[in-house]
């Protein structure tokens, strides 16, 4: 019952994400990342791998903020939140939203990483590892931004608060991701401990959400 409801909601959330003109923010983000990470090396200024990976994740974070911030807020402002509240338990709504968000960010980051491999003329052998890092990173990023988006939307807090509140929570994940991506770009051995840290943080936030978000729905 819950599982099939989750699937139905996930399909709906993905449809909404791809329909509502949200791609524009992303496209813009990708263009910025690509322009900077490509233009600089080509103009003979040597750019370190650290700079490139920092840029990738920071721009990904901010361009995803735009969308993540709206996944819950749109439901409140368009008055569909009360419809869903009456039909499905809050944890299912939350799970489907953050999953849709993670899938969306993964799609974007996979595109970015494919382009990177070509621009940097990396050997294709790094591609699987890079994809793995991007998918894990998107998962942690999607979930963490998702839960902050829920808190901001539920409390009807000012929207400008979102990136300020979300960034410090995600920074540990971002630092790990930047470190790993740098290792991948340098073709040096990848620290799997950091990758586990990223995954662990994603799961920890996911479970916290399932456990504690119902308290924000009941009896208020």
């Amino acid at each position: 019952m819950l599982w099939s409801n989750f699937k139905t909601l996930l399909v709906k959330d993905i449809k909404l994400l791809f329909k509502g003109g949200m791609l524009i923010g992303y496209a813009f983000g990708i263009v910025v990342v690509m322009c900077i990470s490509v233009a600089l090396p080509m103009s003979k200024i040597s750019v370190s791998e650290v700079t490139v990976s920092t840029l990738i994740w920071m721009v990904l974070f901010f361009s995803c903020s735009e969308v993540s911030q709206r996944i819950f807020l749109d439901e409140e402002t368009k008055k569909t939140a009360d419809l869903m509240r009456q039909l499905v338990p809050p944890s299912v709504i939350y799970l489907s939203k953050v999953s849709a968000n993670s899938i969306f960010i993964s799609v974007i980051s996979l595109g970015v990483s494919t382009l990177l491999v070509f621009w940097f003329k990396l050997s294709l052998t790094v591609l699987p590892v890079l994809f793995l890092v991007m998918v894990f990173g998107s998962f942690a990023l999607g979930i963490t931004q998702g839960i902050i988006s829920y808190l901001v939307a539920r409390g009807a807090a000012r929207g400008s608060v979102f990136p300020i509140v979300a960034l410090p929570i995600i920074l540990p994940v971002l630092i790990s991701l930047i470190n790993i991506t740098t290792q991948v770009l340098e073709s040096s051995p990848v620290s799997f401990t950091l990758l586990v840290v990223v995954l662990a943080q994603g799961f920890a936030v996911l479970i916290t959400g399932i456990l504690f978000l119902p308290y924000l729905e009941k009896g208020v």
Binding site: I148, G155, P168, I169, P172, I175, N179, F212, L216, V220
Partner: protein, 212 residues
């Protein structure tokens, strides 16, 4: 009862410890007396982590028991934790300036504490920006729980996976017996101060709410 004993104990512990640490604690062989800032630095950092942990526990209790008393603990504990994180950062910077040559080095522990400060400052920001008063403490509580999830990473993992200038990362604290005594006294003293401060802040909150 326990609190009254603590009120008497605090000056008894902290004043002799202060005198001992500043005037009589043994001089370090390599860096001389500048190391004495650790008598403030380590206890403040310790209290910061304790305060954030108290906020975590208060938040979980508030959500499950739905009693505003726990929210007051969670909220005020974050504020006190922030205060001590700033003290830890400043004392650390003084130490860094005299021993490593510059006040800020982007050492992993410095990065960690600055992230902690931003994160819990964001807690206060989020709390104040919520326009639904009934949901304010609940949302803040969930945020505090998520924020604490990153503490293990910042305190234990980050300094170990990246190279650090901090003593425990480059092998051995190098503290001798006399230094440990001073540090223990300061740790106990700071913990007592934290408990009393938290109690005071919570009682002020409670009084204000009753007055309204």
């Amino acid at each position: 009862m326990i609190l009254s004993i603590m009120r008497i104990m605090t000056p008894i512990v902290i004043i002799p410890s202060l005198f001992y640490c500043i005037l009589y604690s043994p001089v370090e062989k390599v860096i001389g007396i500048t190391y004495r800032s650790i008598f403030f630095h380590i206890p403040s950092a310790w209290i910061a982590v304790v305060a954030f942990a108290v906020s975590l526990v208060g938040s979980i209790l508030f959500l499950t028991k739905n009693d505003l008393k726990y929210d007051r603990f969670a909220h005020r504990s974050v504020e006190i934790g922030l205060l001590f994180s700033i003290i830890a950062t400043l004392t650390g910077s003084v130490f860094a300036y005299y021993t490593w040559g510059s006040a800020w080095n982007w050492d992993p522990r410095e990065t960690s504490i600055i992230i902690l400060i931003i994160m819990y400052a964001a807690y206060l920001l989020l709390r104040n920006s919520i326009s639904k008063p009934k949901l304010r403490p609940r949302i803040a509580a969930v945020y505090s729980i998520i924020a604490f999830l990153t503490v293990p990473f910042l305190v234990f993992i980050l300094p170990r996976v990246t190279s650090s200038l901090h003593p425990e990362s480059i092998g051995g604290g190098g503290l001798t017996g006399g230094m440990w005594i001073g540090l223990a006294g300061m740790l106990i003293g700071f913990t007592l101060i934290f408990i009393l401060l938290l109690d005071l802040a919570v009682r002020i909150d409670k009084g204000m709410e009753e007055k309204l």
